[in-house]
Every structure is written in C-alpha cells, then in structure tokens.
Amino acid sequence: MSAKGLLIDYQWCTGCHSCEVACQMEHGLPPDQHGIVVNQVGPWQLPDGSWQFDNIPSPTRQCDLCAARTAKAELPTCVHHCQAKCMRYGDLEELAANLATSPHQVLFSL
C-alpha cells in the first residue's frame, strides 16, 4: 500500500476547529493534546488594502491518519467533519499532483 497523507487547501479553511475536536474525540485525547492543530495567521491589513487571514491546520505526531477508520474504508474523522470541505486524504503521490492546481495548499506526509 502506498504512503498516505493529508492535503489541506487553506484558501478555504475557516478555522472552525472541527478537525481538531473530532480528532481528540476519536482518539480520546485530552483537551491540551492534539492530533491536528489549527494555527491562525492574521488578520492584518496589507499595503494594497487586502487582508492576511489564514488558518493552517497542522497534523501532529499523534496523527495516525485514523488507521482504525480507514481500515474500515471510513474517512479520517477530520476529513469527514471538515466544515469547509478543504481536507483530502489519500495517496501522497496523487495528493501531490493536486498541489499544482491552486495556490495556498499544504500537504502532510504522515
């Protein structure tokens, strides 16, 4: 089986924390530990008047890519619940091919 990962299109990540809490509940993690954490960058205004405001989720070493779920052909719970539908789970190679399609994406090899 080829290596898997998570692709996050942070152009659309709203910072809703659903991935974080779904991961904690699924894995029985306490509130101060995470399998994935959302980092907020901004808001601040840029010289051209536009705004910097991104949310960039990062999986941690505690992410097991929801092995128990994916073994049953279920989606990782973060992907399942992502409110902006901006997370993808799959083969690293295929995900990497998606990187080129639009800016502001990040790929995690896990």
Partner: protein, 781 residues
C-alpha cells in the same frame, strides 16, 4: 456507516465532498413521499433510522436543543451495548450539513456524561434564593409545588400573573407556548431588551412584505447544489454577522463557503475583519450601529445612477417615489460621515450589488440590535427589493411552511381578552399585537411597579437570561425577585436558576429523547431521535410540558405520551412521528417566483400578502400603527454623535455578542474540549486602541462605562476597527462558586448595558454603546 462510504475506492483521494456526491443519487432518482397530496423530496438512505454496525448501535437523527444551536444538523449517534453514547458524527446523507459538524455536536458525548448536570428535581425556600440550599425532591412533589403555586396565582390574580419565559427555544419553544396559552397566560417572554433577536427582522419583513425572506443557498432542495433550478448567488452581502460561527436562523454557516467555492463573491459589512471579510470582494468596515445609514446611502446611489430594477419595481413594489424622497439626503458623502466609511466605498458597493445577477442579504442580530431596528431593517430589505433580488434562484426566497408556528403552538387556548394583558400591548402594538409577545422592557417595569397589575410567578425554560441576554442583570434580578414563585427547567444549574429558582427540573439532551425538527429558517421534516437512555432522573422538555399541561388543562393536552403528541402536531404534514423518522429529512415542494403564481397571498392572487399586494417600500401596516412607513436612520445612542459629553469620558465604541466557535450563547462552558478553545471571556481591540488605553494582549482588564463594568481578557486583533471594543457575551464560570452566582457580576457585559428599546418596542444597544478600558488593579484580582 452508510454504504456509499464503503463503496469508496480508498486507493484514491477522498474528501467529504466526494462522500456527499455519492449520497445524492436522490437528485436524479427523485425519491418522493406522497402525503396530503404533497410530494416531499427525500434522500436515499442506506440504512433504517437505527442499525447495527461494528458492534455499535447507530441512531440517525437531528441535533436540536440542547446542547447545540439553532441548526438541527443531521447526526449519527453511536452507542455501545451498555447504552453509552460513544460518538456523534455528521450524517453524510443529510443534505443540510452533508456529513459535517461543528465542534459542539462533535463534543456532545462529554456533555452527556458531564458530572455537573442537573440530575433530579430540587426545591428551595424563597428566602434562600441565591444560596446553594437545594433539596432533592421527587417529580411528583415538584409538579405539586408548581401546580399549587401557579393555580393559586391564577385563582387569586388571574392567569396573567404568571410569566412564561423561553430563550432561543429551538424545538422546545412550541411546548412552552402551549403550556402558557393553555394555562391562560398571554406572557410569551424572551427577556431580551427590545426583543432584539430575530423578532425585529421577522416583524419588519412581515409588516412590509407579508412574508419572511431567507437567502437561497439551495436548502429547499434535497439534491442541494446539484438541483438544476438553483443557481449560486452571484453576490452574498454578509451584513453584520459571522454565519460560519453563529449558524443562526436555520442557516448552516458553511453554506456560504460552499457557495464561494461555486463562485459566489461577498460584500462584508462589519466593524471587524472576519475570515469571510478577508475573502470578500469588498469589506466595508463600518461604525457599529450605522448599518441603516449605509443601506439608505446605497439606495440613494442606485436610484441616482438608475441602477434599480425598473421592471420588478414597477410590477411589484409600492412607494418607490416616497422611498426616493426618503433617501435623498443620504448621499455617499453624508453616509461616509455617519458610517466612517469612504464615499467611494459606498458607491462601489451599491453599483456592485445592483449589477449582480442575484444577491443574498445575509443579515443577523446586528440589525436586530440596532436601537431603531425596524427602520434599519426596512432600509436593508428595500435595497434588495429595488434590485429585484426576490423570489429568484440565489436571491431572497419566501420559505415554504410545513407546519405553522407563528406565535407558538396552542394559541387557540388563550381565553378571550387575555392577549390585551400582554406587557406593552398598547404602548408597543408592533410587539404586543403584531408579534404577540410581552415586551421585555415593559415587563421589567411592571415587575418593579406592579402596574398595571401585579405579576406573581414565572416559568423559566431554556433560558439563562441573567448571564446571557440581560442588559442589566442587577436590575433584572431585583425585578424577578419580586415574583413569589419561580420554576425552572434546564440541563445545568445556571446563575439564573441559582439566583431565582424555587423549583428546578432537570431536562434531557437531544441524544436522550425524541422530538421534532421542523421549524426555524427553511422548514423540513425531521425528527430528533433518542439514541440512549439517560443516566439522570431528567425528563424531556416535551414530557415535562405535557405532564404539567395535563394538570393545568387536561383538555388542551389530550395525549397519553409525547409520541402521540408529536403525531398530532405532524398531522397537517401527512406524516406521523414514525413515518417521518424513517424517511427524514423530508423536503417540502418548493418553487421560485411564487408571487407571480399567486402562491404568497391568502386569496391566491399574484403579488405579496400586503394591503397593496406589493412589496411595500412605504408600509401601510406601519403607517396604521403610527410608525414611519419609510426606512429611516437614527444615530446610535449612546454614541459619539448622539451623546458627545458621554463620549468624552467613554471614548470607545462597545459592541457585544460576537460568537466564539465552541459556544452557543451561555451554553457549553462545562465541556472541557470546547472550553479549551476559548477558556475565558475576551474583548478584542486593535493594537492602537490597546496601547492608547494601556491594556495588554492576554491580560485581564476592565471594560466600563457610566452604567457599570466587567472583566475581560484583552485580545489584540488587528481586524477590529480602531476605537471599537468587541466584548464576549453570556459568560459565567460553571466551575465557580454559587455564592457569587458563578462570577456573574464580574463577567456580565450586561453590566454596561440598559433596558432601552427603540420607538417601536424593538431594538436595543447591545451592539453599540460607549465604553473605556483600563488594566485591572491589584485589588481587583
């Protein structure tokens, strides 16, 4: 888990969007349910409403109060052989949320097992209000106490001496109103100054157009975004709300993001740069409380530049010339002065909206919480009417109705003449007569003065108003303390119950009980399904109302159990509880352009359900009530321009009530994974404002004005307009001491607010008043 997920080829890339499209075979297959001659749109379910999977029992259902919000997302509740709720997941088959959930429903299992839940009925001596001197009692004793007290008040002073209070109500509201009406009381009470949540917008819409208007995010169709009749809105004007977090009025906030991904572009009007604002085509950073002026200015531009929809206005609007006259003074320059925007921003927004093929007005409580909210609502609405954004795909639509909920359920049981005893019935006819609620600010005065008659008891269900909606908790507490007997129903002990309750009944959370999810926003047929037995002695709100209602008025509550009651409620839909549970969600047939087809008026003629049959830019209804028939702008007061003296001492504008992700108003503070997301109350301001007043990011500080103060942690947010402070609302510390009402007095932002409604009895100052900030001193800690 549903079959379609098992069908996935997991060697390929998968998002929950792929999961969604697999479940929408229904779009093509056009699954239908025929009931009462109507054909309901359905989705295909891979399983019955309850099934076994991997050793767990899965119960499909809908999430409504509580703990939750207004939305009623589709959920799959997983329970084990011991009957424990193991997890809650979003139901991918449900077109509403399409498998997604916000953090609140994801964390529901830790709500169910929370050690601080109310577990059994309790009573307390009236002299001990405010003290933790509760005594456990049986349900029978609790019901006896409530029955005896309320019945005595009714016999001695009339049923109008008892108040019936709800908060957001959600699926519980209808049972409270039936209890109230069948008891004989007209006091439908919200405990919010100027009824300033949803009610003003609904009232302004009905008064001027005969309907309510929702943004069309395809929510009327079972096949959602794939429905061929639907087009994505070209423009979504997110006006004074952050729907991604608030999910209010039946809107699943992330539909806005779905539409953006389909090409919708936004105009955002807000004092703070929200995430949506950062992705908007235009972000209008507006002074709080001046939205009405902006709308009038945009109308001015649209008329001056001849950008209005002539065909639509000529055919369907009434009073265009009067509107034109009313906006003539609101030139872009004049409006720039009022709103602190640039004149060309206003012109650009007006042109952009007018030229869009379709546009949604995504409005929220910031408009309700404008002091003169009715004329402000009229202004916003008029903007979307003269641009023809009515009853077409991707614009504003009149939602079809499955069950009629107006004024609650059971109104026919209110004895004749009782309605006139509502607080504020004569003073504020738009509230007491049109919206048929007791006007909160008048009710508070009545509690204090016994005029025009004495109030003696209260039923408080689904509301923690002292910590949440009260604009002056000290005054409200004193006013309510005049009542001789107060009964409360809730999931947790709250500051309100600790301060005021004489009897408290424990309620159940949604996975522990059955219910209906029909109303709010676009109606659809869904049921709330019990997944587990409760480990408390709690009973569902529906059961409590039924059991008490039977004691007060058995004729009005003829049902043996809640399921019989649900069957009866659902009868007009053609479903009963069990048939709806199996097929839910059921979508009501929906059509666009209903005004052209005679589907909006009671007499079946084309047009709108108003005296003129048109959308009334000049309102006959408001004129008849002695109110201005046209939209109008009033300076927010207190405010920099209306109270300049006060502004010298309190030079910052305070806006309250922005929602954090994990909380629904005063709920959810007890659940560790949600609390960790936002552990303490904050007030946001930009660095410049923080520096100017000597407060620092991450540190506690006071926010105060001439009325009072409260503590907040300063959070520097460069997205907040300079000179504006945005403070959290609805805070208390469930882990704190009951003796000081769980730190209520330190934390209530209501300390700075007032019972101060607008002219029509609607509107308040929660979203714009004045304040200053200063660091906490040593002795404050």
């Amino acid at each position: 888990m549903a079959e379609h997920i098992e069908q996935h080829d997991f060697d390929s890339v998968t998002t929950n969007d792929d999961m969604k499209s697999n479940s929408y075979k229904s779009g093509q297959d056009a699954l239908n349910f025929e009931a009462n001659g109507k054909s309901f749109g359905l989705v295909e379910h891979a399983h019955p409403w309850r099934y076994e999977q991997d050793g767990l029992t899965v119960t499909r259902g809908s999430a409504w109060s509580g703990p939750g919000c207004h939305d009623g997302c589709g959920v799959l509740m997983y329970s084990d052989a011991d009957g424990h709720l193991v997890k809650v997941e979003g139901d991918p088959e449900n077109p509403y949320n399409q498998g997604r959930l916000c953090v609140r429903c994801i964390a529901v299992p830790e709500a169910i097992t929370n050690p601080s839940r109310l577990r059994y009925p309790m009573k307390r001596e009236r002299a001990d209000r405010g003290k933790d001197k509760w005594q456990r009692i049986s349900w029978d004793e609790a019901y006896d106490l409530i029955y005896q007290n309320f019945q005595r008040f009714k016999e001695e002073s009339g049923a109008e001496s008892v108040l019936f209070c709800q908060g957001t109500g959600r699926d519980i509201a209808q049972y409270i109103t039936r209890l109230m009406y069948s008891f004989g009381s007209p006091h439908y009470v919200l405990n919010i100054s100027g009824m300033s949540c949803y009610a003003p917008r609904v009232t302004a819409c009905f008064a001027t157009t005969g309907s309510f208007w929702l943004g069309d995010y395809s929510q009327e169709f079972a096949d959602r975004y794939d429905n061929p009749e639907w087009h994505r809105p070209e423009r979504i004007v997110v006006w004074g709300n952050n729907p991604l977090v608030s999910n209010s009025d039946g809107l699943y906030g992330h539909w806005v993001v779905d539409c953006m991904r389909l090409g919708s572009e936004l105009i955002v009007v807000d004092p703070k740069c929200t995430w949506l604002a950062s992705r908007a085509r235009q972000f209008l950073q507006i002074r709080p409380g001046t939205d009405g002026a902006l709308a009038l200015g945009m109308i001015n531009v649209i008329i001056a530049e001849d950008l209005w929809d002539h065909d639509f206005v000529d055919k369907w609007c009434y009073g265009f010339d009067e509107l034109k006259e009313a906006v003539s003074a609101y030139t872009p320059e004049a409006v720039a002065e009022i709103t602190w925007l640039e004149a060309d921003e206003i012109v650009q927004a007006a042109r952009d909206l007018a030229q869009a093929e379709s546009a949604i007005l995504q409005w929220g409580v910031a408009i309700d919480m404008t002091k003169e909210t009715i004329p402000a609502s009229q202004a916003l609405l008029a903007l979307f009417e003269i641009t023809g954004n009515i009853e077409k795909p991707g614009a504003m639509i009149a939602p079809p109705t499955l069950l009629y909920y107006g004024g609650g359920w059971g109104g026919e049981w209110l004895p004749e003449g009782q309605d006139q005893k509502r607080c504020g019935y004569d003073k504020y006819p738009l509230v007491g007569q049109a919206f048929i609620m007791s006007q909160t600010d008048e009710m508070i005065s009545q509690l204090e003065t016994d005029q025009p008659y004495r109030l003696r008891g209260a039923w408080i269900e689904t509301t923690n108003f002292l910590a949440c909606t009260s604009p002056d908790p000290e005054r409200e507490l004193a006013a309510y303390n005049n009542l001789e007997f107060i009964a409360c129903v809730d999931l947790f002990m709250t500051p309100t119950i600790m301060a005021l309750g004489d009897v408290v009944l424990p309620a159940l959370m949604y996975p522990e009980r059955d219910g209906l999810r029909v109303g709010d926003g676009a109606q659809r047929g869904e049921t709330i399904n019990k997944a587990i037995e409760t480990e408390t002695e709690g009973r569902s709100d529906m059961q409590i109302c039924l059991e008490l209602g039977r004691r007060f008025n058995p004729e009005a509550w003829p049902w043996n159990d809640v399921q019989e009651m649900f069957d009866d409620i659902l009868k007009p839909s053609g479903f009963d509880f069990k048939s709806m549970r199996e097929v839910a969600p059921a979508y009501i047939p929906f059509e666009y352009h209903k005004h052209e087809k005679g589907m909006l008026r009671l007499d079946g003629k084309p047009g709108f359900n108003t005296p003129t049959g048109r959308l009334e830019l000049w309102s006959s209804f408001l004129s008849n009530l002695g109110l201005n028939p046209l939209p109008e702008f009033f300076e927010p007061s207190p405010g920099p321009k209306s109270t300049p003296e006060l502004f010298k001492d309190y030079p910052l504008i305070l806006t309250t009530g922005a929602r954090p992700w994990g909380y629904f108003h005063s709920e959810h503070r007890q659940f560790p994974h949600l609390r960790a997301l936002h552990p303490e109350p904050v007030m946001e301001m930009n660095q410049h404002t923080a520096d100017k007043y000597g407060v620092s990011d991450g540190e506690w500080a006071w926010v105060e004005n001439d009325r009072g103060k409260c503590k907040r942690i300063v959070k520097v947010n460069q997205g907040v307009m300079d000179g504006v402070v945005s403070a959290d609302h609805a805070w208390w510390h469930p882990e704190g001491s009951p003796d000081n009402l769980y730190d209520l007095w330190d934390l209530a932002v209501g300390n700075l607010l007032a019972f101060d409604p607008g002219k029509a009895g609607f509107g308040c100052t929660y979203k714009s008043t004045l304040c200053r900030v200063r660091p906490l001193e040593k002795e404050d800690n």
